[in-house]
């Protein structure tokens, strides 16, 4: 019996090695051009002066997550101080503050309806609040209860379903109304750090990034990863779909951002400089996907020309790590959140 199992194990290992080699070979065979060589004939980005327009002050400690409301005006942020704040970014004022049962609220999301926010962290849960129209008492409900901390969450196209990722290495889809787990997506070999939904309105595709150095692509209807990208050299901290929907950007502790094409099934560009030594905490796209914004542990954010693979602007102002970078839904502004306890709006 034990001998048989050993034999099977050896056969499985052999097959896995052969498959890996074949995958590598197939991906390499189709690698006929580099992005930068194609982009050479395009005009360089004439980067407009992106100015700091607002500073949102009110958190007592590191801001860990941020998300825009669909109204392009409000933002939700969460912090190490255990607070979740809904901001009016136009006036730079706090509209509502929610207290969480624990510190380190690492996940925060605005519902696409604009009527709900979700947040969670070291409490191993995600809580949602129905926002009162006039800011009166908000209804609060626990949606997701996990066995480890929650690092990220996003509403899945409506306020009825919520996707979460966390310290147990799994993503999970929850029913907001009942709080029931609809589907678990185990697959990462270590903590999940970030999630993003594909841009199409009704799609079931989402991506996750993890401390296992991998970026995984999922179909929410099945519990198996559809595609795996694992070429970062350290923990992957963030992942965002290109607005075109066929590519992903990721950022990692190896100080690099990478562009993955889903249909070519491989990396097509790496965004890094020798002068950039610190990890990437957040990546975000401009509306067209020409600019890739990245937030670094070195207190700066920057904009890369995604096609010509060159850095075109550096956003200075934060006094500690940049933890989140989010573009407003209509693409008119960029929000950055930082461990310096502030959020900044750039436009």
């Amino acid at each position: 019996m034990a001998g048989g199992a050993e034999e099977t194990l050896a056969a499985l290992l052999r097959e896995a090695e052969a498959l890996k080699a074949r995958l590598e070979e197939e991906r390499q065979k189709l690698n006929d051009v580099t992005l930068a060589s194609v982009a050479e004939r395009l005009e360089a980005v004439n980067f407009p002066n992106l100015k700091p327009r607002r500073v949102l002050k009110g958190h007592q400690s590191k801001v860990l997550a941020a998300d825009w409301a669909p109204d392009k005006r409000r933002l939700v942020s969460s912090s190490q101080d255990g607070k979740v704040i809904v901001w009016d970014a136009f006036t730079a004022s706090k509209e509502q503050t929610f207290s969480m049962p624990s510190t380190w609220v690492m996940a925060a999301a605005y519902a696409p309806s604009g009527n709900m926010v979700a947040a969670g962290g070291l409490d191993n849960k995600v809580t949602v609040w129905a926002l009162g129209e006039e800011g009166e008492g908000a209804r609060r409900r626990t949606v997701a209860t996990g066995t480890a901390y929650m690092s990220c969450c996003v509403f899945a196209h409506s306020e009825r379903q919520l996707l979460t990722g966390g310290g147990d290495g799994a993503c999970a889809l929850w029913d907001v109304e009942s709080g029931q787990l609809l589907q678990a997506f185990p697959g990462h070999g270590a903590d999940v750090s970030a999630l993003d939904l594909a841009p199409s309105d009704a799609g079931d595709t989402f991506a996750s990034a993890g401390a296992d150095r991998a970026v995984l692509l999922w179909d929410a209807r099945t519990p198996h990863a559809v595609q795996a990208f694992d070429a970062h050299d350290s923990d992957v901290n963030c992942v965002r779909f290109h607005p075109g929907g066929d590519a992903l950007a990721s950022g990692a502790d190896d100080a690099a951002c990478r562009l993955w094409d889903l249909r070519a099934d491989r990396e097509v560009a790496a965004y890094r400089k020798e002068a950039l030594l610190f990890g990437v905490a957040a990546v975000e796209w401009s509306v067209s996907g020409r600019l890739l914004f990245a937030g670094y542990h070195d207190h700066t954010a920057c904009a890369w020309d995604a096609l010509r693979v060159s850095r075109v602007a550096v956003l200075c102002g934060h006094e500690h790590r940049v933890s989140a970078v989010r573009r407003s839904p209509d693409g008119t502004a960029l929000a950055t959140a930082s461990w310096d306890a502030t959020l900044r709006i750039w436009a």
């Binding site: 034990a2 199992a5 050993e6 194990l9 499985l12 290992l13 097959e15 896995a16 498959l19 890996k20 074949r22 995958l23 991906r27 189709l30 690698n31 006929d32 051009v33 580099t34 992005l35 194609v38 395009l42 980005v45 407009p48 992106l50 700091p52 327009r53 607002r54 500073v55 392009k72 005006r73 970014a89 136009f90 198996h224 559809v226 595609q227 795996a228 607005p243 075109g244 590519a247 094409d261 249909r263 070519a264 099934d265 097509v268 401009s286 509306v287 067209s288 996907g289 020409r290 600019l291 904009a303 995604a306 096609l307 209509d330 693409g331 008119t332 502004a333 960029l334 709006i345 436009a347």
Partner: protein, 70 residues
Amino acid sequence: MDMMVSTLQQQRAVTEQLRREAAIKRIPVSSAVADIVKFITDHEQEDCLLVGFSSQKVNPFREKSSCTVL
């Protein structure tokens, strides 16, 4: 023995995952990149963070007075 079984199960899952990944249809990087470039070119004019605002009045976050930020 239990350890053996769980290692076997793990390896089976890994190999099955690789089989699924190996079965994916792929396209050449040149055509993938061409599609990315096309999407960007088609949408560049709507991208305020890239091309700026036609007038600062359209920028919802413009300063209303001449105060210095920070």
